[in-house]
Symmetry: C2
Subunit: 362 residues, 2 copies
Amino acid sequence: MINRIRALKKSFNKELDGYVIINQPNTLTNQAHMLYLADFSGGTALLVPKEGESTLYVYGVNYEAAKAEARNCTPELIKRGKDVVKMLADQVKHLKLKKLGYDLMAIQSYEKIAKSIGNATKLVAKSDLIWNLRRVKDEYELKLIRTAGQLTTEGMRAACNNIKTGYLEFEVAAEIEYEMRKRGSDGLAFETQVASGPRSAYPHGGCGERKLKNGDLVVVDIGAIFKNYRADMSRTFVVGKPSAKQQKIFAIVNKAEEEAFQKITDGSKASEVDATARNIIKRAGYGEHFVHGLGHGVGLETHEQPVLNPTSKDSLRVGNVVTDEPGIYLIGFGGFRVEDTVLVCRNRSERLTSGFDSLNVQ
Amino acid sequence: MINRIRALKKSFNKELDGYVIINQPNTLTNQAHMLYLADFSGGTALLVPKEGESTLYVYGVNYEAAKAEARNCTPELIKRGKDVVKMLADQVKHLKLKKLGYDLMAIQSYEKIAKSIGNATKLVAKSDLIWNLRRVKDEYELKLIRTAGQLTTEGMRAACNNIKTGYLEFEVAAEIEYEMRKRGSDGLAFETQVASGPRSAYPHGGCGERKLKNGDLVVVDIGAIFKNYRADMSRTFVVGKPSAKQQKIFAIVNKAEEEAFQKITDGSKASEVDATARNIIKRAGYGEHFVHGLGHGVGLETHEQPVLNPTSKDSLRVGNVVTDEPGIYLIGFGGFRVEDTVLVCRNRSERLTSGFDSLNVQ
């Protein structure tokens, strides 16, 4: 694994002489930034100066673990009653940093930091610096995401085997999650979705106590985590024999997913990949029922950069990992989504989740 | 369930004429605030003016679900390409709101909102308003947390039955999570901890691939979710027969937990409850190894208000739900923690998780 803190410093150029991440309030993104850079998720703040050692500020609860496990930085204990912002500001003054970058920050932290560091240091919003690193996965990361993809695919196999008349949605989820966990998944990338019947028409239909009935559409959306890296996969099932209308709409979504997949390659514009899927659905007359973007990056977070939707400015690059997930949602009838996690390659890209490429009649 | 938006409006007094929550970036707290107030977690922003209808701003992906499920407010669609901050600002101007409260907000959103709404409206940090409501659970909430507590206790029973020589940590986690899920848990309040051997000495020791060995300490920390409400429970196990030293330290932690529990009652100062447990551990000579606070509130979030630690200013009130979780962590030897979720009552409080009150010799 590369020294990512060094890579971040290189991207400062002349614009910055330091970078700060502060996880107050706790946001998934700031936590993932620290995990990415320092290989440790239990820090409260990370200060990366242009020259010299970076400092990871850690409360007592995680300090011993940080000393043993954090990389490329020095853990510093936040003693009880001490203010992490004050500690950070003292270090910034000591190092005479003039331009300090940051990504996401709460207004509360921002005002406190700005006041503490005084006029000699300027805070500069520079969200791209870390994201430019995080969106291109290296071989080490890809190995982990591949495993997460395999575990997720095994979870979908369990879904396939357990979607039957009379099962409750959460019972199906129990079998999916058990299968992934037993095989080595470290957790769930997001709440498992097993949305059947009317709630399948909500893209985030969740998972409840509904009993599966013959003829139900069931949208299953799941993700395993392997050593902090995630995958994301959706399939649409029918309980029993699919109707002609179910088959027709499913075929449209499946075609949209496959043709968009063909466009996912080094240099493609994300908005054009989205348009490929969207136009197929539009031409079939369901355009207004594809109510979300085509996809998103996947890595340490389930939703990260790049973004694939009609207004995205992103282009895809080798090493990006993104979802391809068109859907059609008909209130009162049900929903359809097919989703794979895809590694962007130079020519033909690679699905990291796969299989079950039909309505999967039970 | 009470109309919480009405309760929030009542707390404005003369200081505010509106309140805004904006979930950009996504923080668990802002999401939980919206879920609490509008019974729907898929919104991007919520505007609560003093008079008249509240507005929940929702992207297309969740709009149909919001129309069906959000309460006490009107969902408004954020159309593709529209800026939610601009929509919010227009509504604030239209309603002529002068003082708008908020809790957590990213500096990026804050600056954009401040600029959009102009000088006629002042943004006022007022985090207490929602927390004063959220920290006191009503009967409806308590019913759900009670169930989450029962499911968590059943998960701990599965831990108890599966901690055996030769099992891998994640295999034990699989059995715990399967048990909770099958019985109706909606997910995990946090990543399941099954930390054995050396990593039991890290309070957040996680769960990996380590194989359990005779004599290992194993700290298990788990939480179920039932209809969005959570519970939190830890137990310490020994694989095989506990040593005299393991038994001695366990007894100290167990005593600290029990005596602190006796102090958890309406009107107690949180810092004094913490001191009760801390003094027992200090007097036994392990003070520096109790490296975290005694506890925290539990509800829609796993960590919420009130906070029980030496610097807390909180007092406990009937209807608070808090954890009681002293621990002793010895690097190179192993860790010990006992934790229950406790409902604060007028006299004797009530454990919502319970059982397994020994080292649970396997």
